[in-house]
Symmetry: C2
Subunit: 501 residues, 2 copies
Amino acid sequence: MNTKLDELKTRLREASDLGAAAAVLNWDQSTYMPAGGAAARARQAAILGRLAHEKLTDPAIGRLLDDLRPLEESLPYDDDDASLIRVTRRQYERRTKVPAAFMGALFNHTAETYSVWTKARPENNFALVQPYLEKTLDFSRRLADFFPGYEHIADPLIDFSDYGMKASTVHAVFADLREQLIPIVHAITAQPPADDACLHRTYPQAQQAAFFNKVIRAFGFDFERGRCDVSPHPFTTSFSIGDVRITVRYKENDLGDALFSAMHEAGHALYEQGCNPAYEATPLAGGTSSGVHESQSRLWENIVGRSRSFWTHYYPQLQALFPAQLGDVSAETFYRAINKVQPSLIRVDADEVTYNLHVMLRFDFELALLEGNLAVRDLPEAWRERFKADLGITPPDDRDGVLQDVHWYGGLIGGAFQGYTLGNILGAQFYQCALAAHPEIPAEIAQGKFDTLHKWLKDNIYVHGSKYTAPELIERVTGGPLRVAPYIAYLHSKYDELYAL
Amino acid sequence: MNTKLDELKTRLREASDLGAAAAVLNWDQSTYMPAGGAAARARQAAILGRLAHEKLTDPAIGRLLDDLRPLEESLPYDDDDASLIRVTRRQYERRTKVPAAFMGALFNHTAETYSVWTKARPENNFALVQPYLEKTLDFSRRLADFFPGYEHIADPLIDFSDYGMKASTVHAVFADLREQLIPIVHAITAQPPADDACLHRTYPQAQQAAFFNKVIRAFGFDFERGRCDVSPHPFTTSFSIGDVRITVRYKENDLGDALFSAMHEAGHALYEQGCNPAYEATPLAGGTSSGVHESQSRLWENIVGRSRSFWTHYYPQLQALFPAQLGDVSAETFYRAINKVQPSLIRVDADEVTYNLHVMLRFDFELALLEGNLAVRDLPEAWRERFKADLGITPPDDRDGVLQDVHWYGGLIGGAFQGYTLGNILGAQFYQCALAAHPEIPAEIAQGKFDTLHKWLKDNIYVHGSKYTAPELIERVTGGPLRVAPYIAYLHSKYDELYAL
């Protein structure tokens, strides 16, 4: 039986190594590759992706999984080998249900759509990309139909990024959140917005980097097993548990952009670096779902990085680094600036309160599109109406409206966005548990110490990698299901004080 | 027939793309990879290497080559398709003559030897690595024996890097060179060495980079299709004709180190960037032999980069960039400093005159070891004796003697070194032809213009990639075989004046 398990592990390791090689190529393309490398790079990435897929869908894996079922059933559920077999089977079944020809056609279509979108967005021309998006919707529905028996047509698509979550669950959670969030947004926006002019002075790149590198190192980011580079859009990528990389971009007139991006990506990276090393190059390595992954980026960026405790320790250092820019700015003014809440057009620039409204809007549209209750051609108008209703402002154009996010134009419609808000909710829920176990955490953060928090997250979440599904992990960590209450309590405790609500 | 040719090209492109992906991984490992990535990177590189090898030795390629023989024979020798079939056949036959198991064992042995060498060299402990080197010699002989019918046992190994060259040819060329070179070395070393103290002041890295980037851009290095990074040992690597990268290292107290390395690697890169784009991802892309490749690095580094013409234009700019370091240094002093000739211990630090003695010593030892006329255990002593005889100094230890170069400890014995001196000879021979066609080249160089030289090299050498073997290319370009006379004439014209010989 061990021979079979070893063979399975060898096959999975090879597929993982090919996938990691593809990730290196993608990282290089986003960071250092000269323009002239693009055509060859597309070919190089494509063949690695194809070979990795072939290895992962090799019928030999199916036979090994069948042969290993007795072993799996003889072991406890949370045994590492049993978990490896279970998670591999789930992924194998998902991958082999979709014909390779369909995936190839989908890949070609999304590549073409992405290319059209890169023209359509600057030209503010939704009509240009509309026929492509209609085809994407058709592809998304057909992909879902390879997984019959779903409750909602979005469920199989949500499964890809947040396995075990359903449209109905997410919808209920979001309705609950929305009901409590809207009054907070209204109360805050009834007051004048905070003054964040201090963040928009000139901050040279080298000092920005020096500061946030110190911060993320203190969080626990291991520079011996990772690094930070520059790319047009910040991201986190893993080539192994020992090599997890993040990127930021710099805006010299926006101190917050690179700083909070770095904390955000470091949160993702801590999760990846904290995985049990025994899971290296297996399907158990890496985070378990987009929601849980986002819970870590949001926790470190917002709950820690935008907290009073954090800046009690770090603001004097930041002032010392930027005396000309921040010498005349009080800690209170700075704290209010980085926690400014104001409805805005762009999701990725939104504050932590209104951000969720951007996500819920997209999630609801995904469901409506998939259900057939909204046509692609009606999407721009629906976007403007819903945006006005939820955020009180009307997007002046589609460029900063329905065309703003790459997700639908470079992938599927369905399952693309819910993870962001699930992450906000889960980050607060996990943090509440960490505080219950270690009430000293905020006081430690106020001293620039993050070891207790990092260790708790590592022991309870990071180390498990993808061994447990998100619902299983939430149950293990919190003793119950996903709950909105801790996130709402977090928002109230922070913003009631800030805005004297 | 076109279908067969297309299938061949597809298979070759896939193998090339896998090889390029492996090259990206290797580049990343040498430039940016954190220490924690090493274990996974070794696995990732190994599987890419294995898959590329499998594709290149697939019997389907052999069948396609057989099927395509009539097409090849119907086309002119220098037709691109005929050349593709011819060069592919040569490489396929070479690769398939060696059993995969032998190559695997060889790869494991050289990896182990390299690891032992990284300890043995700092410890000055040849005995530690001696048994490994004995096994390497055995592997090298056995590898040669997969290619029966050779004139000298080194010939098949020389073929790997300088196809079409033989031990007897190289030996004759080197004997000819040696006879004329030794008197030059003796005449120069009879005089006091040039004073190069001006190169060893403090030169900040950023200004060094600003200067040599301007220089290699002027040479013709295309930064849209390449880049320059930092690594412990300078190298050039290609991921496609549109993405050719070089690296340098910086020594703040040695201006020449990064500067001449950058020119050297840029010479390799110009060759790769200048290849006919139609050869992309085929065996015709990239330089044709190590000797011809080295001819370009040496030509740009030494014949151009250490010439009076070059510094007529650039020295005032260098002085302006480093006023504190070079303000009191005359152009003549600087020119003498960068052309200082003095016997020294380390090959890679040697000047362009004595450098060849380092190479010939290694080449002769490779032949003697392979012939059985020298035992590995006697190598350190033989090294000291020959070094004393040729260069007039005795290495104080093996660290800076027989242990100094990685080549034998990370690869084969045989074929490892001759390319360097073949490159010196060929660089001068090609340059003489360029001058015959364009006598204005030195005057242009004195104005910081390199277009005429670059275009001549591109049209006559670079564009052909690997279409012609080195002997074929030399014949096409120079109208005859490899000749030592132009190189000796170059050395005399330069050093007779410098040292008033």
